[in-house]
Symmetry: C2
């Protein structure tokens, strides 16, 4: 959906605390994510990509809502929600925590932030996991406070992200390691800042803990980033495919198990915790998955991003489908994420993709497509 | 979001079984509802309104997803999910079943369909209530099958809806009473048909139980309705406000209790069932709500539909806010739904609404604004 007369910003859908600022900054297109408008485009997909990969960008990702779990036993409760072993989860550390239902299907893949033993945020992909978490706690009779707090992330993403953050926070930001967070204030606005984000670049999330400061905080980062060439931005399809980052809804849904999406090493069936889906996942592991997600490098001219799932062929046999596809300027090729039959997932395996009007040659590629210094 | 180059129909969001047919029929604008694209506009809001109120329209409401609850004890389980007393719920009957969380806040307002004692559908507004229902059942250790089945509603809405249905189903459709349903087949497609819908007109929902028949079923209804002037359509803001029908997200959310939205008579605190939110609602009832939803008739020229919540004033004092507003050709006025301080909710109370650039006179109006024969 695009801005102007053509876009119906119905109030059935919530507005982010940064909404007015993003409109003023030229947001042209929005999606709906967790019942909230989220900008997806400013100048153009190509220009937004250049700003993100060459300079630095500021994103309104307030739609990345939190589930806050507070109270004695909060951490033990979260251990029952994910197949991942949380034995070594430090306060101040972020963890990628995929959630499974009782069938082992993935229902969301949040990042968890441990603010204290009894205070955890799950920072969600699109999905009302608040209901899931509250339903389980109610059913189990647990005395926990489970809410969606007034916490709205901004993201600063791009090679110059650390410089922007330093201009706002000071040099201490350089001590913040990948997947760690700190609590502080910016011009009176309470925030949590993490070294995380939805891009393949260096980046930070600024979790604003009081929505009243939204537009002011946006302005503060735009001003601080101005000498560094900051541009308003948004999650970028080409950039996240380069990183091999999956988008919930596009690249996985509740029909996928962690084994299909490369998370085998994070499914700890040996732990004592009886997490949801444990029995089903034990069974699935023994059988082995019948599809695996891989990278594909697709030959030929730049194609527009896909809006349907392209079939993938080995010779004349259909062996999988593309979930996300975009042209990557840095890879110099169309790149994609696709599910394939497990026996065909070796890098350089030769396949073809039906892009709608023709078949195009493709080869399996290891993930990520592009290695950056985001973790450094 | 509008069709054409300007609309990004990303495959992060699901497509309905009727998607191709609605594009071919000229769908110009979509929203995202239950993670699925849902058409919202064809010709124009005014022309779509005329087709709906004067003739008949066909809607793709596949995004109205079902939660299917199957197994012994299914009905007893559903009784714990809603404050409404279900003692007299017959097989073949639809019930408006608002769901509350433990605080008494409304988290969705589905219509329930009782297919059998052990087989119930909750036909949802926008929200992943599947997670809530599954979480509770898991937590309570209940052995129920809880899924989102392959069930996708079409709606036939408008004064000539019964004629269209008769052309497809035969004269037996005339025996189907308001809020009742039947099971049958159309050209081999298994369907449930109910006398319900999201409009203020006579109407039916056709719950297609096998998505492969989607585009064919759409075509069947368009062909049968052609002599009756059928047009493709969608939920219409002016029409639903005329009916006093609330839209979850716009007119209520989890901060609202049933008492605030006129459902007092459906909150049965005297029943034995210990439904979720019972204690909280007992407390709220004793205190009385501090706002009530009402109709407002707003003076002056036709205004565009609202995209923000207009403040409502009594003299110079802010006493409430508009949630939904549209110009109704039949009412000959701008009409709205609004929350007001309870002492100001008598019909004909004189207020004003801040519509952005000025204050406009308004009076409280009883709901519905327009009485139709939809229940006859």
């Amino acid at each position: 959906m695009r801005r102007g007369d053509a876009i119906n910003l119905s109030n059935r859908v919530r507005r982010s605390p940064f909404f007015e600022a993003t409109l003023a900054a030229g947001a042209q297109d929005f999606t709906i994510y967790n019942h909230m408008w989220m900008p997806t485009l400013y100048a153009s997909a190509e220009e937004d990509y250049r700003a993100l990969t060459e300079r630095v960008t500021l994103w309104d990702t307030a739609a990345e809502r939190q589930v806050e779990i507070r109270g004695p036993g909060a951490e033990d409760f979260v251990r029952r929600l994910t197949p991942r072993n949380l034995d070594r989860w430090a306060i101040g550390q972020c963890k990628y925590l995929f959630l499974c239902d009782e069938t082992g299907g993935i229902i969301n893949d949040p990042v968890g932030l441990k603010l204290a033993e009894d205070h955890i945020w799950l920072s969600l992909a699109d999905g009302d996991i608040l209901h899931w978490v509250k339903g389980l706690a109610l059913g189990w009779g647990l005395d926990l406070s489970i809410t969606e707090p007034d916490v709205s992330p901004l993201q600063v993403q791009g090679p110059r992200a650390t410089e922007v953050m330093e201009a706002v926070i000071g040099p201490s930001i350089r001590d913040l390691k990948f997947f760690r967070f700190m609590e502080t204030e910016i011009d009176g606005a309470p925030v949590v800042i993490s070294r995380t984000g939805w891009s393949n670049e260096r980046g930070y999330e600024i979790f604003l803990r009081d929505g009243r400061f939204g537009n002011a905080l946006w302005g503060r980062f735009m001003a601080a980033g101005e000498p560094l060439g900051v541009a308003p931005g948004a999650p970028n399809q080409a950039n996240r495919i380069e990183a091999g980052m999956l988008s919930y809804g596009a690249d996985m849904n509740c029909s996928n198990t962690p084994f299909e999406i490369g998370l085998r090493q994070f499914v700890d069936l040996s732990q004592e915790v009886d997490f949801i889906g444990k029995a089903a996942l034990a069974e699935t592991r023994d059988k082995g998955p019948d599809r695996l997600i891989v990278g594909l490098r697709i030959a030929g001219e730049a194609l527009p991003s896909n809006t349907t799932r392209d079939p993938v062929f080995f010779g004349t046999e259909k062996v999988g489908e593309v979930t996300s596809r975009a042209f990557s300027a840095r890879a110099g090729a169309n790149i994609a994420l696709a599910y394939l039959r497990p026996d065909l997932t070796e890098p350089r395996t030769r396949l073809s993709v039906d892009v709608g009007d023709r078949h195009v040659d493709a080869t399996v590629h290891s993930l990520p497509f592009i290695v950056t210094d985001k973790r450094a």
